[in-house]
């Protein structure tokens, strides 16, 4: 299974295979594709981390860009962008400028969208193309069937 995106080259990305288990601090100054297990911490400040479908991380992650296809238990800080693919299981908080979540991804935690340093608005008009968070798997929407409702309120003192 090739999990690299178009334009990515395997030679540009360090690769940790699915049989590798690492316990401790993992840091580096190049992009990393991780399909094995890591327990500890991951620090790739100016680079991207892709967690493959077999990847299982029990660590806090700090990277420029984080793409999750496997399982993560820990907080993710993606200074630029975090993406949860449909097979992702993320248990922990996410802090980033932009987030993309595919339909089918499982997420338990909090999301904190940090403002850009230059405060440039990143919102776009179409929800399907928003960079804040995008439901990548779009499904056709049937015609609306408005159901007006009448409010009834009760208040306790």
């Amino acid at each position: 299974m090739d999990n690299f995106r178009p334009g990515e080259s395997r030679t540009d990305v360090a690769h940790i295979g699915k049989s590798v288990v690492i316990k401790g601090e993992l840091s580096g100054s190049e992009d990393l594709y991780l399909d094995g297990e890591v327990e500890g911490s991951i620090e790739l400040r100016d680079h991207s981390l892709t967690i493959g479908p077999n990847g299982h991380v029990r660590a806090n992650i700090n990277a420029k860009e984080v793409i999750v296809q496997g399982k993560v238990e820990g907080n993710i800080s993606g200074t630029d962008r975090v993406e949860l693919r449909k097979s992702a299981v993320q248990v922990g908080d996410i802090a980033t400028q932009r987030i993309v979540i595919e339909d089918g991804a499982y997420f338990k935690g909090g999301i904190d969208i940090r403002k850009d340093k230059d405060q440039t608005p990143r919102r776009e008009t179409s929800p399907a193309h928003t960079q804040t968070s995008t439901p990548v798997t779009q499904v056709a929407t049937p015609p609306s069937s408005p159901l007006p409702a009448a409010p009834v309120s009760s208040t306790r003192g």
Partner: protein
Amino acid sequence: MANSFFRFFRRGAAAQQEHSAQTTEAGTRRSSGLGELTRLLKGAEGLAVLDLGPTSPANITHFTELGHRVYNEDVLLLSQNPEYRSSSEPGGIDVDRFFKENLVFRNVKFDAVLCWDIPDYLAEPLVKPMIERIASVLNPKGYLLAFFHTKDAGPDAPYYRYHIHGADTLRLQHGPQFRLQRIFNNRHIENLFHDYASLKFFLARDNVREVLVVR
């Protein structure tokens, strides 16, 4: 517990993905409760919102674009974890363990909670403690939006995932086949939220009663 969660989820995720391929849209519905919540939150920024339903990219988009923090915890899915089954506990569920490991929020209080129709599908022993737990993490004057079936559609009543599709519109998507456990009448609902300050009911024509509760 983490390992057991991932073991559970490995099965759950596989089933979810298999189901996801088969999931169909179930239309949209106007939600007066959501419309009211949207109106009440309008203009505010930096609020903390808790979504108790399945992870919804649309809901996360909606609230993060308004400048809010979003928390997600799929209570119903978590309650299916066999690790919580206990033959010695009333109702067959280890309630203490469930709430020791879920709906635990340190250093955060919420301004709004999206409860959807989870109480209708959740196992009986978990319903009241869940509402009490939410009350403990909801800010004073915070809001909770919940839906309740108004008539017994049978145990096979479809469970929907709710995706926010506008200020007062929800996109419905068939979710996993959870079993409808009960029907709450108005008095049951008022008792359920007796720790809260006020309730506002919205009676829709599709056998769903929406309730906006204020802490």
